[in-house]
Every structure is written in C-alpha cells, then in structure tokens.
C-alpha cells in the first residue's frame, strides 16, 4: 500500500536577505548576486509529502523546472528523504511565466506515470503569484486544494485536508489523485539526514555531467551516464526532447505575461485612509485602488 507523491519545488533568489549590493540603482534586484535557496513553502510541501510517506508508506518524487543550477535543490530533496528527483531543464524553457511553466510541469508529470498526490508550495517568494500549483492541477484535470495546513486523513483513496481561510479553517475531502498547495505553517521542514548527505552529495543531473565532459575531454557523456546510473547517483533529467510539448506554448514564446514596468516603491507609513466595513466603503476602496493603479 502507500501513496505516490510528487512534490513541485523551485529554487528562488533569497529575497529574505537582500543586502545593499544586491539592489541595482534603478530598484531592480541583481539576481546573480543573491544566493539561491529552496523556496520555503515548497520545502514545507516536501516535508508534508515525507510525513505522508512516513505515515502511510509510498514514495516521494521531487520535480523542479529550472536552470542546471537547480540541481542543488534536488540534492537537498534527496538529503531530506525524497526517493526520486527529476530536473526539467532546457534553454527553450527559459523565460516561462506561470502559464508556460504549468504546461511543461503537467506534461512532465504525465510522463511520470500514475500518482496519488501532488504537493506544491502555495507560492514562491520571487514571483508571489500562487498560480503554478492551481494551473498545473487544471492542466492535469485533477482536483486541487489550496492553502492546506494539515493532511487530516487519507482513507480508501479519499483525502481529507484542512485548509486555512480568513478567520478560520475548513476541511475538504477529495478523491485521489489531487493537487495540494501548502502554506508555511503546515509543517517544520526536517533537517538533512547525515547519511543521505554523504550518500547523495555526488548525485548529478544530465547538465552537470555534460559540464564535466566539457571540462575534461577524456570523459564521454554516455560512459558518465552509465557510471552514475550504476552507482544510483544519476538524477533523471528531462529536456525539451523528452517531452511531447508544443514549442509555441513553452518558454518566453509561450508566456503571455509581460513585465510592463518595474518601480522602486518606498513604503511610507505616514498616511492612511480609513474605509467603513460596508458595501459602500468597499466600493470606495476598490475605486481608490484602481485610481492608484494598484488594481487594474
């Protein structure tokens, strides 16, 4: 018995530790200067998946789409206890917005075969959109439960989840498979396990092995792949060739979201306006926000 979980994870710039040298004069962030970290809510999602495995059995597969550097993140997933990982990486995927990202993720997940639960963080700290989880569920045609704070029970292919709502919570039951997005308070991510760190620190993705062959002309990628696979240290990697995707729906081309303008906003707490908690007050507030181009 047991359930197969897939966890969607993302490597993000560490926006919690933005220092002086990271900010450009125009107010944008120099990503190259920022350390890359495990998106906090994705880490909680992985923890929840591992707890589900601890309780009910099964396996956990961590999946990320990103540049080759995201291999670091997948190793961390192995250190925490993920059974399998998958990197989806290709230059052709670059510049993807949430629409193009969820399209590729859904295609990759379909390739992975049968699954029971997909866990994802509620949102990433770089984009703050909270869209990738729900969009992926839509494309896979599975039910979704967002803002989950607790897995209450899984029984007879039905899952009961408690989700956070304003001023309280609600419990929902869904058939499996299901996609669940997870909030930060749902769990405290476990530490890396010493034995797993030592065992998997040399695990490599395809791009990392390719890089090794570039640095050393005596190495051949096929040999390396075989060697790493035999040692159980190969982290499976999908490029665009491994997926049956429509090239017009991926990367920058497949992304309708365009950044219109970046503004450096200095928040000043000096002024405030109060609106009555009535229907009229609410309308006034929305109108005001639209005037200020906060809503559009």
């Amino acid at each position: 018995m047991g359930y197969r979980s897939i966890v969607l994870v993302k490597q993000v710039p560490d926006t919690a530790n933005i220092s002086g040298q990271v900010m450009r004069p125009d107010g944008t962030v120099n990503r190259a200067k920022l350390p890359a970290v495990f998106n906090p809510e994705d880490k909680v999602a992985l923890e929840l998946a591992l707890q589900t495995k601890d309780q009910y059995g099964g396996t956990v597969t961590a999946v990320t789409m990103g540049p080759p550097k995201a291999s670091d993140l997948l190793r961390e997933c192995l250190y925490m206890g993920a059974d399998e990982v998958l990197l989806i990486s290709d230059r052709k995927f670059a510049g993807a917005d949430t629409l193009a990202t969820s399209y590729v993720l859904a295609e990759a997940i379909n390739k992975l075969g049968k699954y029971d639960i997909i866990f994802a963080g509620r949102q990433a700290i770089d984009g703050d959109t909270a869209q990738v989880g729900p969009q992926t569920a839509e494309k896979l045609g599975v039910p979704q439960i967002t803002y989950a704070e607790k897995i209450v029970e899984i029984k007879k292919n039905k899952i009961t989840v408690r989700r956070r709502i304003d001023g309280g919570f609600e419990e929902l039951r869904s058939p499996l498979p299901v996609l669940i997005t997870v909030i930060k308070d749902a769990a405290f991510p476990r530490t890396f396990r010493a034995k797993r760190v030592m065992a998997y620190k040399n695990a490599r993705t395809l791009m990392e092995l390719e890089k090794m062959t570039e640095a050393n002309s005596l190495l051949y990628i096929d040999d390396l792949l075989q060697e790493y696979k035999s040692k159980n240290l190969y982290m499976p990697t999908f490029t665009v060739d491994d997926l049956d995707v429509d090239l017009t729906r991926i990367g920058l081309r497949g992304s309708p979201t365009k950044v219109h303008k970046v503004e450096s906003v200095v928040l000043a707490g000096s002024e405030h306006e109060q609106f009555e908690p009535t229907k009229e007050g609410l309308n006034e507030l929305i109108e005001k926000l639209m005037q200020d181009h906060i809503f559009g």
Partner: protein, 573 residues
C-alpha cells in the same frame, strides 16, 4: 540564519588544520567500507568533505533550532510524571531533530548504524550543541555509553543495544555516583547478585545520575560480596524499566534541561559488561576519560556562547557617548577572553586528536591480533599515544572548565547590572558553566590525574623537538619565552622532587601542571601562527601571560608558600 559551524571562524580553522589523516585511514580500513555502505567515504578528502557537510547540518540545527529553545528549556526544566522523567519540550524537540538527522551515533561503526566518525569530529558537534544549549549536551554527549558497550560488550550485547543508540531510540545514563561514593568511586555499594537462574540483578541506590530516566543505564556495582575496594566492582547494562525507580529529580543551579536523578534499583535484571571485577579499574576509567573530553567540549561551547554575548553587548551598549567596546579596559577584557577561548580550543582538539590516535591504534591492534599479523610497531605507537592522551585529557578538563567559568564570569561583568538580570542569556551561561569543573571529576581530581605525567615530564621529547624548530620574526621572541618557561618548569619540578614530600607535591602539582599546560598550548599557538598571521596576536598574549604565570607559580613553590599547611588548624578558625 546563524550556523554555529560556518560562522565560527576559529572552529573552522581547527577543522581545516587538524591532521586527522592517519586516524581516518585506520578507521576506514583503507576505505574499503564504501562498497558496503553507500555513505562511507572513498578516500580521506571524501571523508573530510563528509565531516564538513555533517558539521554544517549540526551548525544549522544548533544555530536555528536548538539555541532559540535554550532559554525556555532552562525556565521549564524536567518534570516527573508517574515515576518517569519528562524532558522540557525544547529538549524533546531538539533530540528528535538530532535523531532524525542521524546524529545520535556519530562515532559508532557502520555495522551498527553509526556514522563511523573520529572522536575529534564528534567533539566539534558536542561543542556546537553546548554553545546552543549546554544542558542538551548531557544527553547528546552521552554517545560514549554506546561506545563503551561496543568496546567491552559481547557481539550479542552490541547487536541488542547499539543500533538503537544510533537511531536515537535509546539514550543512555552512566550510573556511577552514590551518596557515599562521589570522587571516591571505590566506595560504591550498589549490590549486583546472581539469582537462582544465574542472572544478574541490581539492588541499591545511585545519586546525581545525569539523564537518569534514560532507557539504558550503565551501572557500576559491587559484584563481589564482602569486598570493599575498586577490585570488587563490575560494570552492568540494564534497561530503565519499572524496577528502576526515579526517586527524585534534583533542583540544580544550572543545566536545567539535563535531568539529574536519584535512582533506586529494585532487583533490576542486568547484563555483565566485559569481565567481572574490571568495572572500575578498566571500564569506568575508559568511560570517564571519554566523558571528561565531552565535558571539556561542553565548557568550550559555553565559553564560545559567553564570549559572543559579551562582544555583542559591548558593541551595543553605549556609555560616556561611545560603545563600551571602545573603552580600553573593556576591550582588554574581551581580548583576554578571546585569547583564552582560542587557546583552549587549540588544546582541546590537540587532545581529542591524541585520544583518536590512541583509540584507533587500540582497534587496529585488536584487528591485527585477530588476523594473526604482527603488531609490535603499532603497540609501540599505542603506548606513546596512550601516555600522552592520559596526560592531556585531565589537563584539558581542568583548563577548559576553569576557563569556561572565567570567560562566562567576565562576560557577565561586561554586561554590568543588566547581566545579573534574567533578561540576558549570560546569567544562564554562568550557571551552566559552574558544573563543568565539578562533575566527571573535579578540577582538583584532574590535577591529581595529570600529576604523574607532569612530574615524569613525559612531553620532554615533544618540547625538545619544538625548541629545535626555527621560527620567523616575532615568533622567535615568543619561542624564547617558551624556552624560559621550560627552564622555570624544570627547576620547580626538581625542587619539588628533591623535597620528597608527597603532601607538598600534591599541593604544588597544580602550579606545575599549569606551567606544563602553558608550554604545550604555547607551542600549539606558535605552530598555528605560522599558518595564520592573526594567530600571532593570540600566541603573543598567551605566551607572555604564560611566562608571567610560570614565574609566579615558581615563586610560590620555592618560597614554600605551602609550608603553612602544617598550621592549617591554627589558620582555619
């Protein structure tokens, strides 16, 4: 996101420069174990990388999980529930994290689920845990108990107990002390007898037992009825089941997270560990030496924490229009603390390395014997290492635990009145430090243990080697001071020996051991200065201070300061 490993430059320095290759080569049996265990290293570089990565995990856990819980653990303490010890919430949570991260059997062999790390690396972990919460060390730092079962137990006993230490299910306690047997363990009374089926059972009372509610206890007991000394004592392992009653948890000055218990054994079923009658003279001595290193690591962690608090406060606190950090008297105190901290760390890891060498040679000899191979070369090296480790261990325990008291005392002083208040963590550190120079053998007992090696000048050759070395620039001057300390030591030692008065020797031993320590540490710092120029400052203050202290100690000895012992009754009214 503090990391108690990577943010501690001096600990990193020790990690980088500690020569452990011979130790690791022996432990990894020429790196053949990676075929069987996927986490075993392929070579020394790989092993060191493993150590770094695991210490990084511990640095993260201690900095971000354990340290933030320390104040509440101290406040809450342990409690009794239905005759069982219940840890403070933070203690329980931290232990769970440590167990889940595979960190509860760091030194244990692969075969039993351990990480097979050298003691020196385990000690770095203990230092960090102690910096975060000194009281947690009393549980985390008791991995030696499993080590003892591994070293002296049968294969069945190893299989029964050790894997569960490694996976964190069991923690241990060493039950040695009794109401009338503290420093004098020969007086242990707790009775071990064989029932009609020939099974061992324990009956009696133990006191001041750290982590007394543990699932597994190692107990020193009198197996030879009618005997009165250490030769009638054997070592036993038993479970902390319902026959072991926790009578009370002591209410202590510090280390509140560590439950100190009074235990009553009511015909508790037990297993003999090792040979009968060797309990005290062999196994407890071994266990205690190991534990002394652990307590030294605890003292070092507290020293680090206290120093950090002092510097932080001094930088933030403004008086007379500037941070008190900029007031010479204050910065001078801080430098003294920092120098003592780094000198103590150097001493500590030098000692742990010698203990590692000793332990690994012991294992290698056992292994060679089994294989029927010659081992006379290893035997020679073992004898040498054993002698040095046996001297450095008590020296380290004495120096580091007294040092922790001094550093935390001064750190509180720098806080002024604020430091006396519960709002700042420094008062907790002062309280926690206070036990370190008492348990596992008081400072006075450490001096006794270090006296033989010091009076026999067993490091003479080592020092002569060091004296021959050519030093650069200002280091030459410091090397000259060390030579001077050695001359003073030689003279004082001769003076004491010539008197042929054991009482006099006993009280003068402290002065001599201190001089010997300055010499040993002085050379360590001199060598470190050649690697890192910043260390010249540390070496300078330490060695100049060491020379002044050596002169003072020599004066005390030669002017017969201790002759008034004959008049103790007249003075002590």
């Amino acid at each position: 996101m503090p990391n108690f490993f990577t943010d501690n430059k001096d600990l990193l320095f020790q990690f980088e420069n500690l020569p452990l290759q011979d130790v690791v080569d022996m432990m990894e049996k020429n790196y053949t174990q990676c075929k069987e265990y996927n986490y075993a290293p392929a070579d020394y570089t790989d092993a060191k990388d493993n150590y770094f990565k695991v210490l990084e995990i511990i640095g993260d856990l201690t900095g971000n999980f354990i340290a933030p819980r320390a104040a509440e653990v101290d406040e809450q303490g342990n409690r009794m529930e239905n005759g069982k010890v219940v840890y403070a919430q933070g203690t329980a949570e931290s232990l769970k994290q440590l167990a889940e991260a595979d960190l509860m059997g760091m030194e244990l062999p692969y075969k039993y689920g351990g990480l097979n790390f050298p003691k020196s690396i385990y000690m770095m972990a203990v230092e960090m845990v102690s910096r975060a919460d000194a009281s947690l060390m009393n549980i985390f730092g008791l991995q030696d108990i499993a080590e003892t079962i591994y070293k002296f137990g049968t294969e069945d006993q190893r299989k029964e107990f050790i894997p569960h230490f490694a996976d964190g299910k069991y923690t241990g306690a060493m039950a040695l002390t009794e109401p009338d047997a503290g420093s004098d363990l020969q007086a242990v009374k707790l009775q071990a007898y064989q029932d009609e089926d020939g099974n061992w059972r324990l009956r009696g009372v133990k006191r001041f037992i750290t982590n007394g509610g543990a699932p597994v206890l190692l107990v020193l007991a009198r197996s030879e009825a009618g005997t009165k000394d250490g030769r009638g004592l054997s070592m036993f392992a038993c479970y902390g089941d319902d026959t072991v009653k926790v009578r009370r948890i002591e209410n202590k000055l510090g280390i509140h997270g560590s439950p100190t218990c009074e235990l009553q054994f009511n015909d508790t079923p037990a297993q003999l560990i090792g040979k009968r009658k060797f309990g005290l003279i062999k196994y407890v001595m071994d266990l205690m030496n190991s534990a002394r290193l652990g307590v030294s690591a605890q003292a070092l962690g507290i020293s680090q924490a206290a120093y950090e608090e002092a510097v932080k406060y001094a930088r933030e606190r403004e008086q007379f229009g500037k941070p008190i950090y900029n007031i010479p008297v204050v910065s001078n105190m801080l430098i003294d603390m920092r120098v003592m901290l780094e000198a103590n760390r150097s001493l500590f890891y030098a000692t742990s390395r010698w203990v590692d060498i000793r332990n690994r040679l012991e294992e290698t000899i056992e292994w060679l014997k089994e294989q029927g191979k010659p081992y006379s070369e290893e035997q020679e090296r073992y004898k040498e290492a054993n002698k040095i480790a046996a001297l450095l261990t008590p020296i380290t325990k004495y120096t580091l635990t007294e040092g922790a008291n001094k550093i935390s005392y001064d750190a509180l002083q720098i806080h002024g009145g604020a430091g006396y208040m519960k709002e700042f963590p420094i008062e907790r550190l002062v309280r926690d430090a206070r036990i370190t120079n008492i348990y596992e053998g008081t400072s006075q007992m450490q001096i006794v243990a270090a006296t033989g090696g010091t009076m026999n000048d067993i490091l003479a050759e080592h020092f002569t080697e060091k004296e021959k070395k050519k030093r650069k620039g200002s280091l030459e001057r410091l090397a000259g001071y060390l030579k001077e300390i050695r001359e003073i030591f030689d003279e004082s030692r001769k003076y004491v020996l010539d008197k042929e008065d054991t009482d006099f020797q006993e009280v003068a031993a402290r002065e001599l051991v201190e001089m010997y320590t300055s010499l040993f540490v002085g050379y360590l710092l001199l060598d470190e200065s050649e690697i890192n120029p910043r260390k010249v400052f540390v070496a300078n203050r330490y060695i100049v201070g060491g020379l002044a202290q050596a002169r003072r100690n020599a004066e005390e000895i030669k002017n017969e300061q201790f002759s008034d012992l004959l008049h103790a009754d007249e003075i002590l009214i």
